[in-house]
Symmetry: D2
Subunit: 347 residues, 4 copies
Amino acid sequence: MSAVPKPALPAERQAFYAKIDQANVTPLWEVLHSLISATPNTPCKPYLWKWATVHPWILEAGKLITAKEAERRVLILENPGLRGRSRVTHSLYAGLQLILPGEVAPAHRHSQSALRFIVHGQGAYTAVDGERVTMSPGDFIITPSWTWHDHGNPSSEPMVWLDGLDIALVELLDAQFFERPPEEAQHTTRTAGESFASFGNTMLPVNHEPRSRTSPLFWYPYERTRAALATLAKSASPHACYGHKLKFVNPATGGSAMPTIGTFMQLLPQGFRGKPYRSTDSTVYSVVEGAGRMKVGGETFAWGPKDTFVVPSWMPYTLEADGEAVLFSFSDRPVQAVLDLWREQEG
Amino acid sequence: MSAVPKPALPAERQAFYAKIDQANVTPLWEVLHSLISATPNTPCKPYLWKWATVHPWILEAGKLITAKEAERRVLILENPGLRGRSRVTHSLYAGLQLILPGEVAPAHRHSQSALRFIVHGQGAYTAVDGERVTMSPGDFIITPSWTWHDHGNPSSEPMVWLDGLDIALVELLDAQFFERPPEEAQHTTRTAGESFASFGNTMLPVNHEPRSRTSPLFWYPYERTRAALATLAKSASPHACYGHKLKFVNPATGGSAMPTIGTFMQLLPQGFRGKPYRSTDSTVYSVVEGAGRMKVGGETFAWGPKDTFVVPSWMPYTLEADGEAVLFSFSDRPVQAVLDLWREQEG
Amino acid sequence: MSAVPKPALPAERQAFYAKIDQANVTPLWEVLHSLISATPNTPCKPYLWKWATVHPWILEAGKLITAKEAERRVLILENPGLRGRSRVTHSLYAGLQLILPGEVAPAHRHSQSALRFIVHGQGAYTAVDGERVTMSPGDFIITPSWTWHDHGNPSSEPMVWLDGLDIALVELLDAQFFERPPEEAQHTTRTAGESFASFGNTMLPVNHEPRSRTSPLFWYPYERTRAALATLAKSASPHACYGHKLKFVNPATGGSAMPTIGTFMQLLPQGFRGKPYRSTDSTVYSVVEGAGRMKVGGETFAWGPKDTFVVPSWMPYTLEADGEAVLFSFSDRPVQAVLDLWREQEG
Amino acid sequence: MSAVPKPALPAERQAFYAKIDQANVTPLWEVLHSLISATPNTPCKPYLWKWATVHPWILEAGKLITAKEAERRVLILENPGLRGRSRVTHSLYAGLQLILPGEVAPAHRHSQSALRFIVHGQGAYTAVDGERVTMSPGDFIITPSWTWHDHGNPSSEPMVWLDGLDIALVELLDAQFFERPPEEAQHTTRTAGESFASFGNTMLPVNHEPRSRTSPLFWYPYERTRAALATLAKSASPHACYGHKLKFVNPATGGSAMPTIGTFMQLLPQGFRGKPYRSTDSTVYSVVEGAGRMKVGGETFAWGPKDTFVVPSWMPYTLEADGEAVLFSFSDRPVQAVLDLWREQEG
């Protein structure tokens, strides 16, 4: 739906357009209707990936290619409206990464910020700037922009997590950099838990000075998150649209854990029937616990544990839960917020 | 140049890819080499639009279409590497807008932030939220996100300015909104000069509370800018790469005048031979005074007054001036800065 | 007026108090009534210093002591409720400083922040970190915390300005430092006007990174201030309590010019009869232009050009002007604001 | 030690001083030497209050006066250099508060911010704006500026905590307000643990907008604090001066828990012999675990569990521990920091 009409195209205009085209000049009025829309006109479509469907494929991928050959053995979840562009929303990337027992995904660093949300298995680790953390389902982990990171699986079971990256955003800004370290694997220089002890308890090292907008805490364990949600479920009223919803924050600033990707965890009470909600940040959900439905644009997407689904910008949707349910989600909300572009609407 | 190698593609992998494709799933390792590059891999190319070339076309456009039919009568300056996409850089739009004597470009508002840099003529006005300012060459004007704005030319001469907008960025974020007011033209409700008196003198109204990140000052007159540069030219040493360079700021925060577009004015001393410089923000320049050259990637672009040129992300370039020269420029630098993505390199 | 009652004092309590007193322990309940009050219980009293009274004394001081012997030849304006404590309000110091033709007030630096508001004469200079500015009546100048500064008068007339310092605040915090430079006078290393060109025009040097919360601009000329007020007087409605009032800001942050002292300039329209106003920041006023009255607590203080007066915290007062009047003022408002303590009340 | 010399005082100067004194005017040069010092010249002295000494007195106070009559039954710890002024440092107040089984300290609110550090006993509660938390030794609790708060002891044992308030600072600013609620005790409107679930886990409610600079979390349990210190003691190197030291922060901003009082917890490893350290914030310590010494100005203060001691601004001191020790401390550091006045020096 265009906000402005398209003008007529008589021959003399056509001739003019051809002439100026030679010097990389073109008339705005011929394209204005497509540049400007009254409301967001996203190519992103709603979609759901069932765990039962993708899990076997993930395991099959484990036989087709090694983590080392693949650099990262990931199945990209591509939005049906953005096929071939490696995007789950207009601005973000999502994929399910598999790491098999004994494997190592080699160290590198890049401008892109990444989140890891643990979906399946446990015992593998992520190392960030020399500190390892062992991952369990529901844990939220970040590998911040331009930090060395690798993954390894010393456990005896395959492990799968959801990756979320800001690839398209960094690409639009032409600010991407990538580096490999001198050695394939990072040296572990810090004891596991040091970051969490330093930053994870509403305290900071006395002389801490933030060096970036990204959280110095890179591991947000599900044990903590789940306990907080359980308390809220008992003590507070759920929001009519989204239940009990918390955002992960950078403890040194109160801002989002990463400047480019907002991350959230919410609990829907048993039998929750949410009111319609929309916001301008297309959002990817990963189901941690429970089952329910997301309804949008006349469609119903039934979800259960480990499923992933995506809701496009500005489309009103509702969330429903059967038993109590817990959902992780991520979007580009902090980018929109810091640029004064974010909007939401309830009901 | 890819940062990671592309794996082999045996038949079994091909079959697997076909299977998972049905559910909008695709292997990362087949596209990782194109997603990740060691340094910015911008589609943006350097280019220069000569005023002598485009000025006649602008006037010709004035005969081909009215401001009213066109909504905005603008010739888009399209980057040669991004043809058909209405972009001067990867993330930004630029165009030269003409308004003829007696014309009015009707009021509207949109999420996109816009800058107006006055290139040619004077006496037309821009009105923002009911306050008009009369524009002169070298003036820098903003029409902030979601503010009502229109333009009119009560003078007797055609007027041309450079428009810069963040269209591609807002599009990537799917956060665009557009509205027309009830009436075609805004009512002027505030006296010309009230904003400048309130915000333009290193003072703020005593009870001012910023409501957005955008500057409450919407007019930065060239008279002030030029005088400041003249003083610096006499008193301070020029930077080896970019001479005397100032950024336009929001007086209520010290941040950029708009959150999405950084704007700059610089003076190159007579005979200036700048050292190479690069940064990750592809930059559009508009020549205010003087003549000189921009050298990049083996090419030389000779510029003079009212010319427009663009320098891509991360390509080292040099600036040279014959006599003293003054350049206005804009880029997406504040977006990169607030997301911790911006880099620069001198020499 | 006490917010809590004082308990009885039987003999056994007295004996107990005497016992614990030996170890620097004392009962709260005996002093709580004096520590806690329902509203501010300031020792500060309203007062006015007539220029006609103090001007001859200032000149007399010029004969009694040299600037060099005095270090700074200043007559302190002591609040009548705080005699002997060198304070014009509970937290701030004010004095009128005289510098005679040919004199130099030697360079030093200290933790205390200082403002200079030019009352009388012109042609003397203040130098801050090697850059001189020549001062005229109505100019507002800062010598920021821990910057080298001196004053000199190469003109042929005596010059007087109002000093405002945060001495009591820095004393309470026990954070005072003072240093003399190796040489008595600073070397002038920067051209006059460089700071103003860099920071005084709603622009900042492109690579500016603030090193402190204090404004990098140290001279706010009255010419600019007065012109802004004149425009507002024509275009905007005056506030019912304080007319047209602007605050001086740090252009790099939008905060107050100094973190410890807020500074303001306001225009009262001809015949202005302000409504009552009070705030928790006791405020010192210096009259720049015009004549009028300040009424507080049943008293009327009639003021004219170059007079200084003080209004205590939380006492409702009104301002009236005969012809158009301009008032400079300062207080500890930014300290209160940043500590979430500031309150105001209109009417 | 004065930074500037005091001038001579001939008879004519004396006469002049007498004359101007009538109008509340006085010469700066007669007092400048006392106003300005080369380094902090604090009246605060080092001192230590032994628990063994004050504990019996606290219990005795419980028999001499009721909590209700006293409003707050507190023994003030007065700095020996500031007797009669209810101050433990130049700017801060400290006291030990007793609440007996069955007692209630009635609800009120005031501009002053308060901390409660639990020293002895457990089972009493503090309620802040309708939410109760039960307190245990080592817990750090805040009752923020202008929030309703009360205390009660439904347990069967006396409970003692250390109060810290910013009384002198608020007094200097003349910004004090105090109110009683309509009813003596607050209604408990929120479930215990709701704030902690909402703010205590490096997450925030999704739509949280800070309304003040004070932490929305008012309870920092020792269990968390102690576990973090234990991990750091195993994993990180202690700072040469202060061991492993964390600051309590506002999770919504990363700033100090309260804007006016900084609060810290540190672990000194077994046998720690700290290097000298000084800073401009006079600091009050409360010993949580272990025993050791604080040496300052030639004196040695031997401390053990539940002792309180104070170190003045800018006096170099050392900390030593026998076994592992844990110290809580507080000071006005955030005020100094936000005003750019804070300094520290190691070694």
